[in-house]
Structures are given as structure tokens and as C-alpha cells.
């Protein structure tokens, strides 16, 4: 790009930086600096107490399972939407965005009603000994609800852009269905699938509204980390809340960094796409 002759650089750049600093950077550093102010000892102690560590295990474990679930079903939905024609496809395609649009608290109470003992799904699951509400399984389902559209929306455009000529060439060379899938489609789709799954995981790990209603929030059993921050705040334990928030922040920023680095490398190796 050559040097621009357009006006407005100082104004737009200056405003961008000031607004970014005020809304994002200064408040973000406030959490991290809390540790410096109170001393790292109490900060680390608060972030590693038994109840807090149990919440990490529950949150990350459920987020992991929900991400795998999202990857499988997100891939299925993306595949069907990108490759096949069927009546009502546009409506189905639009529906996939519902979890992005639906407020999390609404999703939370609705899923709880649906899977509770006399809910439409719960009444079939409970007799078989499958308890969803107030169990880790409920946490997984709520997390998957908000996570799986990330996988669909990452994978779908890649599948749609896939050049049919490549597959036709493979067929003419005698490749079977599975060979075609593993040799041609999978290598192209895999980076998008991994990105989408990582985003689903990150969203699940930080999720609050859709999870707290179905989780039951029993300490050590179904208490997620986000909720523990709120609990600490309600108990006026600011150091504890800031310490846990700092730990979550470190996790989400590292996932974001990894995804960005990964995409950057993929784009480099492809040598295209802007």
C-alpha cells in the first residue's frame, strides 16, 4: 500500500487509541495490577484454594467435552449445509445463528426447563437414569449450545470454497469416497475446524448466563469458575475475585493468542487470503 493522501489519520487513529485504552486496556490492567497491589502471595493463594481449583477442573473439563461435541455436530451441520440441497435449507442455515442472538439467561432457563424432570426431554432421560439438570452433563449441554455455531461458521465457508475440480480429478484417478475425504477435504478443512473448536472452547470456558441455571452451582461439584467470581464479589472478597478473574483472563488471552498465531501461520503457508 502506498502512502495515503486521505485526511483524518490523526483524528481517527487518536480516537481509536484513546477509546481502546479507556474501555479495554486500563480496566484490563486494573485486574492484573490488583495482584501487584495486594502482593502476589495472597493473590496466588486465592487463585489456588481447593474450591477454586475444583471449579477450574469442572469448567475446563466441561468446556473440553462440549468443544469435542461442538466439533462433531458442528462439522456435521456445516457439511450438510455446504454440500447438500434440501427444502428449507435457508431457514436451517439461519437457525444456526440462534445461540449467538439469544440472550444467555434465556438460553439458561429454557434449557433447564427442557431437561428438568417434567421437561420435554427430561421426562425421557430421567427414567433411564440420565440426569442433566444440576449435573456436569447439564453444564456440558449449555456450553455446547453456545459453542457449536462457532464450529459451523468456521468450517462452512471453507467447505463452500472447496474447488470441485480437485475432487473430480481425484475421482478420475480412481479415489474412493473415504480417500477423497481424508486426502482432499480433511487437510483443507482441518485448520478451520481447529479454529472453530478453539473458539467454542474459549466461549464455553468463560460462559456464565446459560450455565448457572442448569448447573445447580454446588461447590466442588457443579460450580463453574465464572460463578465463583460473582460469589466472591458478593462476599466482598475482592482479592479472591480479582485473583480468579486474573487466572481466567490469562487463559482466555492465551487461547486468543494461540488461535491468532495458528491462523497467521495457516495464511502464511497458503500464501493467500489477504
Amino acid at each position: 500500500m502506498h502512502q495515503s493522501s486521505l485526511p483524518g489519520f490523526r483524528l481517527s487513529f487518536g480516537f481509536t487509541l484513546v477509546y481502546l485504552a479507556l474501555i479495554v486496556l486500563v480496566p484490563l490492567s486494573a485486574i492484573l495490577l490488583h495482584g501487584v497491589r495486594d502482593g502476589l502471595g495472597p493473590f496466588l493463594h486465592a487463585a489456588t484454594s481447593r474450591r477454586v481449583v475444583a471449579s477450574y477442573r469442572i469448567t475446563l473439563g466441561a468446556a473440553m467435552v462440549s468443544a469435542i461435541f461442538s466439533a462433531v455436530f458442528g462439522m456435521l451441520v456445516a457439511w450438510v449445509l455446504a454440500r447438500y440441497k434440501f427444502p428449507g435449507k435457508r431457514l436451517v442455515d439461519a437457525m444456526v445463528d440462534l445461540p449467538f442472538a439469544l440472550p444467555t439467561a434465556v438460553a439458561g432457563i429454557s434449557l433447564t426447563a427442557l431437561y428438568s424432570q417434567d421437561g420435554w426431554l427430561g421426562r425421557f432421560l430421567e427414567p433411564h437414569g440420565i440426569h442433566v439438570v444440576f449435573t456436569p452433563l447439564g453444564i456440558v449441554i449449555a456450553m455446547a449450545f453456545v459453542g457449536f455455531p462457532f464450529v459451523v461458521r468456521s468450517v462452512q465457508p471453507v467447505l463452500e470454497d472447496l474447488d470441485p475440480a480437485m475432487e473430480e480429478a481425484a475421482v478420475s484417478l480412481g479415489a474412493g469416497l473415504w480417500q477423497r475425504f481424508w486426502r482432499i477435504i480433511a487437510p483443507v478443512v482441518l485448520p478451520a475446524l481447529m479454529t472453530g473448536t478453539a473458539m467454542a472452547f474459549a466461549r464455553a470456558a468463560g460462559e456464565y448466563g446459560s450455565v448457572i441455571f442448569i448447573a445447580g452451582n454446588m461447590p466442588m461439584k457443579t460450580e463453574i469458575t465464572s460463578l465463583l467470581i460473582v460469589t466472591k464479589l458478593e462476599e466482598y472478597d475482592y482479592t479472591g475475585a480479582a485473583a480468579i478473574a486474573g487466572a481466567m483472563l490469562a487463559l482466555s488471552l492465551s487461547i486468543m493468542l494461540l488461535v491468532n498465531l495458528f491462523q497467521w501461520r495457516v495464511q502464511r503457508s497458503e500464501g493467500k487470503r489477504i
Binding site: P27, A30, D97, A105, L121, Y208, G209, V259
Partner: protein, 293 residues
């Protein structure tokens, strides 16, 4: 059809009977999954909301608390959206029309709010403006209230919707290039008239798309707002918080009635989004875009 096209169709374009069955199975599986996983929760909201009849539903949504919460949600959305529109336009103008060092870093920083958990977002503002926060004592001395008050709710909402407009505009304006604007400059137009007459008409659909994403999230935000609100009935409860209050009081019908209003708003934003997409003006992108300098 010319003779050259009379070649046998490759098998990939003309699936065998076995492949057709495979297709059918996959389509049915996907639709079944979406029906159970997406449609049922959606339908449940309305079924529960109307479970005690239309009259109870109407009374539920006409309660003073609900009407107040609705007004507050509209107010907060009405402040957060214009702020982030101004930011989105400024950021995308600087990023797509000029060269400078650290552009990739700036784009990454703009994306941060997407990665931060909503509860952590709310917590950040408590750390700055709360009673025990950086500015807490000073704010107390000057009788200013951010946390447990409406300014905090606005800030939290601005944070969680921060990148949406910028993320739509940056790739769009990058792809469009600056030829038209440079031509206008060469013809002697000043900055603001270039923006109003050339840039804005070109980006209006992408901008509208960003506004819809921002509004949808602003209306429904729960976690971040929950931390800074203090849940003071009739003062700091937005509609999603009111849903939680009803639910925790075991007033399920009222909770779902309030939730149905939010669901209708969500469906409305979804329809507008899809209309913009289907007019194929822009395509939905979810993957983090990185524009190399």
C-alpha cells in the same frame, strides 16, 4: 447444449444409490440434531411463557418492574450502539486507509473483548470504579456512582460489544480499497464530505450489519451487566437481569414471559441479519480476521 458437454458426468456429480442414502442419513441426522438442540429450547420459551394463559402473560409483561427493565435495556443499548459505531468507523478508517507500525497489534487488541469472559469484563470495572477500586475513594468523595448504577451497566455493555462494528468494517473497507476516496480528494473534497458522500454510502450495509450484531448482544448481555448492576429492583435491572430475578423467586411464568420479549428481539435481529446476508452484500465472517500490514 453443445456436443462438448455430452461427456459422461463424473461420478461425484451423479451420486450412486449408496451415496444418495448416505446423503439422506446425514441430512436427517443434522436436522434432528438442530431440532432437539436449537428449536426445542426456542419453543420452550414461548410454551412456558403462555403456560398459564394469555391473560397471565399480558399481566406479567405489564408489571412495573418489567416495563422499567425494558426501558433500561433500550436506554443502555441506545447509548452503547452509537458509541461503538463511532469507534468502529474511526478504527476502520485509520486501519484500512493508512499505513502505520503495529497495525496487526492494534487489530488484535480490538478483538480482546471477544475473548474475555463476561464476568471478568464486569469485574474489571469493579476494580476501577468500585468502592475498593482505583478510583473508588475519589468517586465516593465526589458522590459519583458507576458501579451498582447505570453508568457501570453502560460501560460493561460497551465493552462486550466493543469490536463488532470494527470487525465488520475493517475487512469490508480493506477489500473495497480507497480509490474512490482518493479521487474525491484529488477533486478537492474535504474529509467530512468524503466521509458522508463517498465512504458512508459504500459501507452502509456492512455498518448496518455491525449495528445489528452490537444491538443484539447489548440487549441480551447478562454476565458482565450482572456483576456491575447490584440488582437493585426498579433502578439497575435490565431485562435479562429481571428474568433471573423472577426465576430465582420461582415465578417461572413471569421469567419466561420476560424472556419471550428478549427472544422476540433476538429473532428480529436474526431476520434482519439474514436479509442483509442474503442480499449478498456481505458475507458472514466468524473467524478472526488478521490483516497483514
Amino acid at each position: 447444449m453443445s456436443v462438448g458437454h455430452n461427456l459422461p458426468t463424473p461420478s461425484i456429480l451423479r451420486p450412486s444409490a449408496k451415496q444418495k442414502v448416505g446423503r439422506g442419513v446425514l441430512i436427517v441426522l443434522a436436522l434432528l440434531f438442530l431440532a432437539i438442540f436449537l428449536v426445542l429450547p426456542l419453543v420452550t420459551v414461548f410454551v412456558e411463557a403462555f403456560s398459564e394463559g394469555w391473560k397471565i402473560y399480558r399481566n406479567s409483561i405489564q408489571q412495573a418492574d418489567v416495563l422499567f427493565a425494558l426501558r433500561l435495556t433500550c436506554l443502555v443499548t441506545g447509548i452503547a450502539v452509537p458509541l461503538n459505531v463511532i469507534f468502529g468507523i474511526a478504527a476502520s478508517w485509520a486501519i484500512t486507509r493508512f499505513d502505520f507500525h503495529g497495525k496487526t497489534l492494534l487489530i488484535t487488541l480490538i478483538d480482546i473483548p471477544l475473548a474475555v469472559s463476561p464476568v471478568v469484563a464486569g469485574m474489571m470495572y469493579v476494580e476501577v470504579f468500585g468502592l475498593h477500586g482505583w478510583l473508588g475513594p475519589w468517586m465516593l468523595a465526589h458522590n459519583l456512582h458507576v458501579i451498582f448504577a447505570i453508568p457501570g451497566i453502560v460501560l460493561a455493555t460497551v465493552f462486550v460489544t466493543f469490536p463488532f462494528v470494527a470487525r465488520e468494517l475493517i475487512p469490508f473497507m480493506q477489500a473495497q480499497g480507497s480509490d474512490e476516496e482518493e479521487a474525491a480528494t484529488a477533486l478537492g473534497a474535504n474529509g467530512w464530505s468524503i466521509f458522508w458522500r463517498v465512504t458512508l454510502p459504500n459501507i452502509k450495509w456492512a455498518l448496518l450489519y455491525g449495528i445489528i450484531l452490537t444491538a443484539a448482544r447489548a440487549i441480551g448481555e447478562f454476565g458482565a451487566v450482572s456483576v456491575v448492576s447490584g440488582h437493585i429492583r426498579g433502578q439497575t435491572t435490565t431485562l435479562p437481569l429481571q428474568v433471573e430475578i423472577f426465576y430465582n423467586e420461582y415465578n417461572f411464568t413471569a421469567a419466561f414471559a420476560a424472556a419471550s420479549l428478549l427472544t422476540l428481539a433476538a429473532l428480529l435481529t436474526l431476520v434482519i441479519k439474514k436479509v442483509i446476508e442474503w442480499s449478498s452484500v456481505i458475507h458472514y465472517r466468524i473467524e478472526a480476521e488478521i490483516i497483514e500490514p
